[in-house]
Structures are given as C-alpha cells and as structure tokens.
Subunit: 236 residues, 2 copies
Amino acid sequence: MEATGNEIALLEGAPLFGGMEREALEAAYQVAYRRHVRQGEFFFFQGDPATTFYIVQEGRARLSQLTPEGHQVIIRYLGPGNGMGIIVALSDTVYPLSAEAVTDCLALAWDADTVIDLMERYPRLALNGMRLVAGRFRNLQNRYRELATERVERRVARALLRLARQTGRRTDEGVLLDLPLSRQDLGEMTGTTLYTVSRILRRWEQQGLIASGRERVVICNPHGLVTIAEDLPEPE
Amino acid sequence: MEATGNEIALLEGAPLFGGMEREALEAAYQVAYRRHVRQGEFFFFQGDPATTFYIVQEGRARLSQLTPEGHQVIIRYLGPGNGMGIIVALSDTVYPLSAEAVTDCLALAWDADTVIDLMERYPRLALNGMRLVAGRFRNLQNRYRELATERVERRVARALLRLARQTGRRTDEGVLLDLPLSRQDLGEMTGTTLYTVSRILRRWEQQGLIASGRERVVICNPHGLVTIAEDLPEPE
DNA sequence: TGCTCTATTTGCGCCAGCGCAAAGACGCAC
DNA sequence: GTGCGTCTTTGCGCTGGCGCAAATAGAGCA
C-alpha cells in the first residue's frame, strides 16, 4: 500500500509505532490494507478467529463483550490512532469481544502473521507492543478495582470523564462527548442499568453539571464531576 | 546461578519458558537469583519501582491492590511455576499492586534489564511473554464482566472453583483449598464484604456443598458449586 | 488449662440500586 | 406534518447486600 504523508503521521502518533524510524513505518504500510466499516457494523465479532489487528484511522469504535446470559458490557471506546486486536492477534485464539463502529470508520489492518514478521524485523515494535499491553492491563485492573469498591454514581462520573478525555470536543455549552451515547451504553460501561444512569444524569443536569439529550452528553462543569468522581470535599 | 535438574524442570513447566530449548533455560538460570520471602511478608509493594520479575518456585503468593480509600482488592493467587511482575518489569514503571507471601515462598528472580536481554537473545521468550500477557488480560476481562453482571453468590462460587483448580488438594472430605483463606479474603476477591461471604458459606455448609473452618475451606460437592456458578438447572 | 487474639457467625435496620410499566420526548422518513 | 420507532424519564415496590454490634468459636501460647 502506498503511504501518504498523512498516514505516516497517523502511524507515528499511534502508540504501537511510537518512536520508530520512518523506514519502519513505511515498511509497515507496505503490508497493511485499509478497511471501511459503516456505523453500526462490526470489525469482528466475539468468537471469530483472531486474525487481524487494526488501527483506527477515522471514526469511533467500541469494544464490548457479551455474557453467556446475554448481558452486554462495554469495555472501551477507541478513536483515531488507537489499536484493537493487538493482544489477541498475537496469541492465535478467538476474539474475546466484539468491535463495533459507532460512527463510520476507516482503519488500517494487518494480518497477525504480518505483525509478527514486523516485530521480528523491528524489535522496537515488539517492545512497544509489550508496553502497550501493559498499560492496557493496568487500566483494566484499575477499572476492576473501581467496579469492586465504588458506588455507581462515582463510576458513572469517571466514565464520563474518561470519555471526555478521549473524545471530548469544546463547545460553548461545555465539553461535548462526540459520539452517540445512550443511557444504556453508559450502564453497560459502568456495570449498572439504564434506569439508574438516567436518574443520575437527570440529577446532575438539574445541578447544572451536565446538559444532555438523546444519546448526547455535554459536560458543563467538569470540575464538579471530578468532585464526585474523586469524592473531594464539596465547595461551600 | 548453578541449575539443578529440578529447577530446570520448574522452568520448563513455567508458562513463560514453555517450549524453549534446554540451552536457553540454562542461560536463564545463569542470570537468575533466588529469593526467600516468609509468610506474611512482601515481594514488593504497590508503588515500588518495578525492577524485578519473579517466578514462584515454592509456596503461595497473592497479588492485591489497595484503593486510595484503603479498600483492598485481591487480584489473584499464585503457585509454583507462576510468574509475577512480567508485565510491569517490561514497561519500566511502578508495581500497580503488592505481592504478599501467604505461605513461606521461594522464588526465582530476574532484573528487568536481564529479562529484556534474554528476550532479545531468545525471541521465543518474547513471544511467550506476549501470549502470557494476552491470556492474563483475557482472564481479567472475564472477571470484570463477571463483576459487572453477576450476583455475589455466583461470584463467590466461581472464586472457590478457581482456587480449587489452582491450589486444590484431594482429601477424604473433598477438595481442600490449600492456603489460609479468610472470609475477608474471599470478600476482597469477589468485591463484597466478609459478612456476606460468611452468610453464603454458612448456607452452603448446611447444604453440604462445603465444609469450612477458620481460614479453611473444603469443597465437598464441586458439582453443586458449579451448578451455582453456572446457574444450571437444579437436579430434582 | 486458661488466656488472648483473631476469625466467624448472626441479629437487625437500612438503603442503594434494580427493574417493570407506562408516559413522555425526540429524530427521522415519508 | 404525521407517524413510527427508539430513547428517556419517572413512579413504585422490592430485595440484595451492607455494615454495626455483640456473641461465639478456634488456635496458639504460656
């Protein structure tokens, strides 16, 4: 695949390729291919053989897991530069979760074999991979702890702040979470129900912390949310 | 360090070294050192700089995380052949959790630099590492999902079954979980309180599923526990 | 054997959060 | 604009699980 300057920049920005020489980045392009996925469609489903690793170029995707009983849990959201399937593509099993495009997406894709080849050729890539997985792991561990020890309200506040960091866009109302986000989605992110999320958001809206509509949340007072998330003393 | 036949066997059995040639195993020994840690003492504490990677040789250890509020969460238990610190030792940060010896422990230890050297010399080691981390990650993801969607009783049943698989020892009463295990510990493993665990175990004891004492649990009817863990239909 | 320390059990009151059901609001397509 | 489908809100009743407090039971030690 022919690399454009833009795309090289994307790779440079992607954590997996950080700090690699230009030559390596271009080599990686040679063996990548592009994949479009329309909003609502899937990159892959939980249970599919894990053959491909992706880096999102445009759009937003989300990773979710389905329980045997049919409950869904949203693991995380991805934006440009983020990779998905790194971990599993290297360990030849099946995808343990599904990846859905929440907006139209364009992604770069590599076959697992290709990634392994690249890693042998460029040890830095393997090291980056390790480091990345380590970070992801720590992250999940923290969320596990959070889920085990904290109340729903705080978990929801944290989820919103995380999303703001990832996908927030400044507007005159406040920080808009720039992706379709239902109460149900938030429930699946925080291990609660859409009802509880609805009640919590409503209360925050009345307190002026957020503004929200159908599948839309704007954070008006980030500091207020942080106060809830971290349980700081209320300002008088 | 001089390798004994026994110790080579341990390494062969450790997932990280699986499938490696004898020469590599011996090379790994050359650069390892031994560390004893007495019951109740720690290999390392959450927040220490992550410099060392361990493989448990004898005894049992457990990894736990402390929340800012002082709640503890037990992440998992380790036995002979299991490694700890793999992930972090490779990504030069601090340990995100503490490792405590729950019985007297002997472990093999490598400095992070040494591990990286070895991985460059023996690519198979790096690949094993990746695969291992991937497995660990999937595991945690499942537990996260479990915590998000399942009731306490089922989580406790699963925790016991996991422990049985790891540390179970057949006795004439049933499968003994061969490590000191308080109600509090089980609570910290499953995101609940010691009171709730106590009530649940008591009920199971009356139903003949388990026998338990002070820091001791024996599973008398594993299938009964599986029934609870998986919510199979009750046998009539 | 008795003492002490820690783990466990259990009564009790309480409340966060669940989840049904029904009504309301919003966005989209025709 | 009208209608439809989906998302959101909210009343209501319920219950799982929390956590204090106090009693009880083991385990180890002198």
